[in-house]
């Protein structure tokens, strides 16, 4: 379903009059897409404004890095929430927002990783490599980011056409990378026993994955 949704997003609008309902859904899709695009930039704009007004607190680098990490998780959860929302009766066209949400997750995740490499490690590649190899929470975060790369690269129309059914299989990596992202956050906080916030994300992701499993089981029984 996922592949179909995204593939459709890449295709030109249905010819006029062919499908009235679809047509109507596209009337609102354009503005909604623009609104989601702008809204998704707000977390970044907030950080820039806070940075210019001295509002990032005593440890600005930590503040910004953590904020970018949090928003990466938020966008990953939103991406995973699209299909369940659709099953719960949201208009089918919302699947066309999914690619943008996924790319925003990659965007914030990449900024998060860049800040770590730049401001925390100052491009000391050996230290970065050692961190990734030795520290499980960084290993998990890096793996999650790495798995996002092929998904971002193949999110365009050309790749969808070219990969065909393999595209869908490839994009199932999302079910692996999102839990890795949560694990990264969890392990980061676990040393200080401060797992309240990671637990919220873990619960949300667990629900989003569980509804998929339940749906499959129900579908298999019916078949």
């Amino acid at each position: 379903m996922r592949a179909r949704g995204l593939a459709r997003a890449g295709q030109p609008a249905a010819p006029g009059g062919a499908d009235g309902a679809r047509r109507r859904s596209q009337d609102w899709l354009g503005p909604v897409r623009a609104a989601v695009f702008v809204a998704s930039l707000l977390p970044l704009c907030r950080l820039v404004v806070l940075g210019m007004t001295g509002g990032l607190g005593a440890n600005p680098v930590e503040f910004v890095t953590r904020s970018l990490g949090t928003w990466t998780l938020v966008f990953l959860c939103l991406t995973l929430a699209v299909s369940p929302a659709r099953w719960l009766g949201a208009p089918p066209a919302i699947v066309r927002l999914r690619r943008m949400l996924g790319l925003y997750a990659f965007f914030y995740g990449s900024l998060h990783f860049l800040l770590y490499i730049w401001l925390d490690q100052w491009f000391d590649w050996r230290a970065v490599a050692a961190d990734i190899a030795e520290r499980p929470f960084i290993t998990a975060g890096f793996a999650a980011w790495l798995l996002m790369v092929p998904l971002a690269i193949t999110s365009n129309r050309f790749a969808i056409r070219r990969l065909g059914s393999r595209w869908q299989r490839l994009h199932r990596l999302v079910y692996l990378l999102v839990p890795l992202g949560v694990l990264h956050f969890w392990w980061h906080k676990a040393g200080k026993n401060d797992i309240g916030e990671p637990a919220v994300y873990a619960a949300i992701v667990a629900v989003l994955l569980a509804v998929r499993i339940v749906r499959r089981i129900v579908a298999a029984r019916r078949a």
């Binding site: 806070l50 940075g51 210019m52 007004t53 001295g54 509002g55 990032l56 607190g57 005593a58 440890n59 600005p60 680098v61 930590e62 910004v64 401001l119 925390d120 100052w122 230290a127 050692a130 961190d131 030795e134 520290r135 929470f137 960084i138 392990w187 980061h188 040393g191 200080k192 026993n193 401060d194």
Partner: protein
């Protein structure tokens, strides 16, 4: 050399900020902060910190043990804290610590001493002359500050209570009162917070029984009314709002060591060569001083106090005794 040696470099009178200017420093900082622009965290910190009743000024004398590095601003020292009894967020202590009542307050001296007893805070304050000690403070999380503490060497108190032969360690216990400290209801740590030192560490002149900072009584979020500061160890060794000091024979079980033994050892000396399991300790970010795009500075062995304290650990494997 960052540390002034006794007598070698007397403070020039030209270096001392005139009292009238010094007394208006917070007004100056506030004006500067307002000019730098109003909203968000900085302003909130300052506002919260200043809502509390005015703190008593403490008469101090300078100490040769002070560093002359630039001091971290009052706002950052009092607004960016780890004090889990008031919440796990860095700004939680400044927001919640106004509930702490610091008078009446007593510190109970217990265990292997000739003169155990319950000491009133005001009696403790007058036990020895107060000094201003400007110390580096290195948090285990990888950030650091320079803080002008006010207090006297813990050794002054220890000598007066006359430790017995089997007093080999001290453990200091900090307040854990749900009524005053909302964080104590959360199970993040085993309360009360306990930290400890070997007796020679506790007796070292750098180890400070601390009552104030920036020339005033400690703000609550910094561990009022009395705390311990051990500048060559990671910040969490410096217990806040101390209610008891026990003289014991066995190495105490300390709070963070109980919570995560692999991550936080009993010694926890600042050591750039021994990494924390989740991050390197080789570098640090100096709060307020290092800009957003500044490379982190190298962390110094024993936080730069190696000349004074390295001998305490001669022959010890500091990787094993982290």
């Amino acid at each position: 050399m960052l540390i002034r040696k006794t007598g070698a470099h007397p403070i020039l009178s030209s270096e001392i900020t005139p009292r009238t200017v010094y007394e208006r420093r917070r007004e100056f900082i506030r004006t500067a902060a307002a000019a730098a622009l109003l909203p968000a965290a900085g302003g909130v910190h300052a506002g919260r910190a200043d809502q509390a009743a005015p703190r008593a000024a403490l008469a101090t004398r300078p100490s040769p043990l002070s560093t002359d590095e630039p001091r971290t601003s009052w706002e950052d020292v009092t607004g960016y804290n780890n004090f889990f009894e008031f919440g796990t967020g860095k700004s939680d202590p400044a927001a919640n610590a106004h509930r702490l009542r610091t008078r009446p307050w007593t510190v109970s001296i217990e265990g292997a001493v000739a003169k155990p007893g319950v000491y009133d805070i005001d009696k403790l304050l007058g036990l020895a002359p107060l000094e201003e000690r400007v110390y580096r403070m290195r948090c285990v999380e990888g950030w650091s500050m320079v803080i002008p503490w006010v207090g006297y060497s813990l050794a002054e108190l220890i000598r007066r209570v006359e430790p017995l032969g089997d007093a080999r360690y001290i453990e200091y216990v900090t307040l854990a009162d749900e009524q005053q400290m909302p964080g104590v209801r959360s199970p993040v740590l085993v309360w009360p917070y306990v930290e400890g030192l070997r007796m020679d560490e506790a007796m070292h002149p750098l180890t400070l029984l601390t009552f104030g900072l920036y020339g005033e009584a400690l703000p609550n979020q910094n561990g009022a009314p009395v705390r311990i500061v051990v500048p060559w160890k990671y910040g969490f060794k410096s217990g806040k709002s101390v209610v008891a000091i026990r003289f014991v024979e066995k190495q105490p079980m300390t709070t963070w060591h109980i919570a995560a033994p692999r991550e936080y050892g009993f010694y926890s000396n600042v050591n750039p060569e021994v990494a924390h399991p989740r991050w390197s300790q080789a570098t640090e970010r100096r709060i307020g001083e290092d800009g957003f795009f500044t490379r982190k500075r190298k962390t110094l062995m024993f936080n730069g106090y190696a000349d004074q304290v390295a001998s305490l650990y001669a022959g010890m494997d500091l990787r094993r005794y982290y």
